[in-house]
Amino acid sequence: MRNIWTVFKRELRQYFVSPIAYLVMFAVLLLIGLNFNTDLQDRANFEPADGTVVLSTFAFLMVFFAPLLTMRLFAEETREGTLELMLTMPIRDHELVIGKFLGAWAFYSIMLLVTLVYQGILLSLTNFDPSPSPLQSELDLGPIIGGYIGIWLFSGATIAIGMFFSAMTENQIIAGFLSMAVLFILWVGDLAGLLPASIVSTRVAEALRVISLQSHYSTSFLEGVIRPEDVYFYAGVMFIMLFVTTRLVESRRWR
């Protein structure tokens, strides 16, 4: 536990000294802001404001930005030779893996928390309007709260996948590219159901939907519904990826 905490602290601190983390945070918040603004304009006086737009944008951006922040976790240490030292420290391999994972996840959690500023804007817009039109109802908080929990779990899963690829190679670019490709495929997997049944049978499409990362939040958490199977899904992905990553780190000893 103590060792996990030590590794966690260093990893998290590391994000705040590296420029790429700030760039990613800047880009994510900027893109979400643009999308949020456009959405707000489109809905004005037609539809009630929707807080989950921020979250679905965040989730989509994660597919591309998570690899940028996880690719260094192990690849950099392998290349710099620091992994050799870490593996001769009196800590267990899984403590190193879990510490790094939690550090990266904490950085994302901070990023996710910063997006609460948009919810604040929505709250002020909806609740302080002096002449509410019938269409301008109060902000629906259920999907927002559920959404934050869901997207938080979702980002944990993407980080675990990104970290796995980082442990696979000492080349950060390859690690980043591979995890981006895999995350993208897993993210759009549920779209297979849109293809004609002659190309993709319904059974295959259903299987793809079940493993797709998007399907486990878009129809549940973002609707304000917390279903245990979705929680298990993300927790399971994290657990399996952490387990495999630990094995991968261990295997460096045998190579």
Binding site: T6, Q14, G81, T82, E84, T88, P90
Partner: protein, 311 residues
């Protein structure tokens, strides 16, 4: 403190270590000597618990490195060949992180101590990426000392340093001996000769010789050598001829301005040599023993081994 028995390491088809055995006693500096690719780093990586051996036993401070890996690792300070540093951290931040991983009590205080020990306290706040190669080496060394380990394993610690830094580091390693057992690898033979109590020479995954530098010299029956320089009518060749007839001399050959005499069985032939020079009507200018370097021991043992393999 370090005990290695029959260590074998195979990388697929390639055998890096063919069952080596050696020991290092407490408070000893053990030099691990060999050409590049001899298996030095492999042995050290096994001893530090970075990777397991294919077979054989390695114990550090009484703990089996494979069975009780964590306990053994706590007793070791390790400086790998590529100094493992995080460029984005400050010197102090890095050392404090290492101290925390090593569960050092009073981290801040201990960090200051080792910084002073390696003479880096004036750069404690600098980013590691901004300090020079020699300083990085010292920070790496500080890292290996942070938990005051009984055993220090240093993989080619002097590589890539300038001569002044090398001299500094060597005397530093010598000073460590009072509290630590030090094992360090090098392919520079004079280095091992200067600072080691014992030397293990390894080549192609096999130990070819081990012992104190002095012992190794006599064990390999290299005898001793004496340099003689004289002035007079006779030239170098004539002098060499004369001196080779002295009793106890193996052979003599011209070298620089004088003659080098190879002596059998460490006999003291100096008086006889001086007498021979004077008897021939020459003036004796210089007569001194020439140390046989590990270079020569090394060449001797490695070529002998090569010859065996070829036969």
């Amino acid at each position: 403190m370090i005990e290695v028995q029959n260590l074998v390491k195979k990388y697929g088809e390639f055998t890096a270590l063919h069952g080596i055995s050696f020991k290092a006693r407490e408070g000893e500096i053990l030099g691990f000597l060999g050409p590049n690719g001899a298996g030095k780093t492999t042995t050290m990586r096994i001893l530090t618990g970075f990777m397991p051996p294919t077979s054989g036993v390695a114990k550090v401070a009484g703990h089996d490195i494979f069975e009780e890996s964590l306990a053994a690792r706590e007793k070791i300070g390790y400086l790998p060949e590529t100094v493992p540093l995080y460029p984005d951290m400050t010197v102090q931040g890095y050392l404090e992180f290492m101290a925390e991983l090593r569960h050092v009590p009073e981290r801040k205080k201990r960090t200051q101590e080792v910084l002073q020990l390696v003479g880096m306290d004036h750069r404690a706040k600098s980013l590691i990426r901004s300090i020079s190669k020699g300083m990085r080496q010292r920070v790496g060394l500080a890292q290996s000392l942070i938990h005051n380990p009984p055993v220090l394993i240093l993989d080619e610690p002097t590589i890539g340093l300038d001569p002044a830094q090398v001299a500094d580091l060597r005397s530093f390693i010598r000073d460590l001996r009072t509290q630590h057992t030090v094992m360090f690898s090098t392919h520079i033979l004079s280095e091992a000769e200067q600072i080691c109590d014992r030397v293990v020479i390894i080549n192609r995954g096999q130990i070819v010789a081990q012992g104190a530098p002095r012992e190794l010299r006599s064990k390999l029956n290299l005898g001793s050598r004496i340099y003689v320089e004289a002035r007079g009518r006779a030239d170098q060749k004539a002098l060499a001829n004369t001196l080779s007839k002295v009793q106890g001399v193996k052979f003599a050959e011209p070298y620089q301005n004088g003659v080098v005499v190879n002596v059998k069985d460490n006999k003291d032939v100096r008086p006889a040599l001086a007498a021979a020079v004077l008897e021939n009507g020459l003036e004796l200018l210089e007569l001194r023993p020439v140390a046989i370097t590990l270079e020569e021991i090394f060449l001797e043992v490695t070529t002998a081994l090569g010859a065996e393999e070829d036969a």
